[in-house]
Structure formats: C-alpha cells, structure tokens
Symmetry: C2
Subunit: 162 residues, 2 copies
C-alpha cells in the first residue's frame, strides 16, 4: 500500500501526522515517555507485532523523535530515548489526556494523573495565548494563510530577446 505523503502537504497538522499519524506511534511515544525504553518492554506492553514495532521505531528514529542508544555492551543491547524534538511531541500526549479524561474516562475517573513539578499539584494542561496569555482554544482563533502556505509564485518567464 502506498503511503500518502502527508509530510508534503503545506500543513503543520499533516506534517505532524506524517510522524505520528497512526495509533501505535503515539502509544510507543507514551511508553518511552514513562520509561519503557526497550524493544521487549514495548512489545510486551503494547501487544504489537514485532514487525510493526520495528518499523515504527525505525521511522521515529529517522524522524529524529527517538534516538537508539546502547545500554549494554556485552551483550550488545539498545534502548530508545526521546530527543528534544520527541519530548516536545509528548506535549501532544498531555493534551490528548486532557480531552480523553474529560470525554472518555467516565465514572471511573482518569486512568493516569500528572503531578506538576513546579507546584507539586495534580494538574492538567491549559492552553493559553503566547501573546496575551489568555485562554486560547480552537474556537478562539481566526485561521489565516501563513508564509509557507502555498508554493512560491512561479518565476516569470523571461522575455525572449528580440
């Protein structure tokens, strides 16, 4: 099956999905984020096929979201760790948690809690405007074309010498 080229779309959403756009990759990120960094640990926790796991890990390493690192020389063993780019991608998981806790957790309550280092309290992420610091949600913005929105205008055809 040919992979649709989401990465080539002039859209940061599509390009982000090109990195994590199927359910397994975010769950792999989640597991590595909480410390399950080895292939066997991931395979066992997710119940994913070894083939699919190996492919996803390879792609996440190629995308510079993960780094493959030696943790034992004898025998030679590797683990997967988040890069800075990968850790920032985990912010997306926090926002998924926020939505999932609110709309899918039901009476049982949140499966996982997050304690903020700065204040020591169980908290969730709130979305604020980077400019005015007030709440900023999908309903609070206008969407406008940006500098990278369209292919650059075609080079004008030079007038042939007369």
């Amino acid at each position: 099956m040919q992979r649709t080229q989401f990465g080539g779309m002039a859209c940061s959403i599509a390009r982000t999905l090109d990195v994590i756009g199927e359910p397994w990759s975010p769950l792999i990120l989640r597991d590595i984020y909480v410390g399950l960094t080895r292939f066997e640990q991931l395979q066992q926790d997710l119940g994913i096929s070894r083939k699919v796991l190996a492919e996803r890990l390879k792609w996440l390493v190629e995308s510079a979201v993960l780094e493959r690192r030696v943790y034992s020389d004898r025998p030679l063993r590797h683990e997967y760790v988040l890069t800075a780019k990968g850790l920032e991608l985990c912010d997306l998981l926090l926002v998924m948690v926020r939505w999932g806790d609110r709309w899918t957790a039901g009476a049982a309550g949140p499966p996982v809690l997050y304690r903020h280092h700065a204040c020591g309290e169980i908290a969730q992420v709130d979305l604020h405007c980077s400019h005015c610091d007030r709440p900023m949600h999908a309903g609070d913005v206008d969407v406008l074309p940006g500098p990278g929105s369209t292919p650059p205008p075609p080079t004008p055809t030079p007038t042939p010498p007369t």
Copy 2:
C-alpha cells in the same frame, strides 16, 4: 483486519486515539474546522477515497465528535458540523500546529497562522498548569496511577460454608 481495541485500554491517550487514531480523521476535523463541511468538499480537498471518507465520517458521528445536519431540503443535502466535544478535540490540532511549525515548517515558515480573537495578534498556544498557571510540558510532570487506572480488584472468593 480486526480493529485493535484502543478504546478499551485504561489510558486517555489510547481512548483519544480510538477516535482520531489515524491520519485521515484529524485532517477531516481540520477541514470541517475551517469550514469545508460537505462530503464533496472534503473528498476533493483531501483526495481521499469516498469509501474511506464515508467510514471516517460515520465513526466521527458515532463518537459524537461530528453531527450530520441537513443544509438543504430539496434536494436533501447534509453537512458535518463539530459538536462541543469535537471543537474541544480541535485544540489538539492547535498543539500539532505548534509542534509542526517548530519542527517541520523549515525556512518557508508556518503554512497557516492563527489570530487570537481576544488580543487580535498572531499567536500560538502555550501550555500552562491548570493549578499554578506556570508552563507545563511533558518534561515537567510525574506520571501517577489515577482512579481509573486498573480494573477494580477482584471480588474475594467467598469462603465456602463449613
């Protein structure tokens, strides 16, 4: 192919992915969010197969993220609109944009800009702690089991009468 039951995992990330866990659904959300609400518009913009689009829309309606609404009686025509649950899910898109603009946009710059209604400025979302209001990112939290983390403990086997 059997669908993996992400919705059944005690994890708000997996449950959220159960709703939008493949590349097309977030892009369908994106399009409806910016006003492409009709089947033909979506099909044309995304270049997706009609079958896949119909399936995804059905699932998003079943998940109460979208509502199917009549916009013309004669001929009978429907469009898809975001529910409150769906609009909140679009917050995830804003956080994807933030990451994608930073890590994938390159020299061309952001494909799309977001103008915040409250201040009128082009801005992005920042993540803050719901408790102390300071920045809160994936590297700033401890992850703890919550009330919905595990199945309830098994009912003790009653001691057989002696």
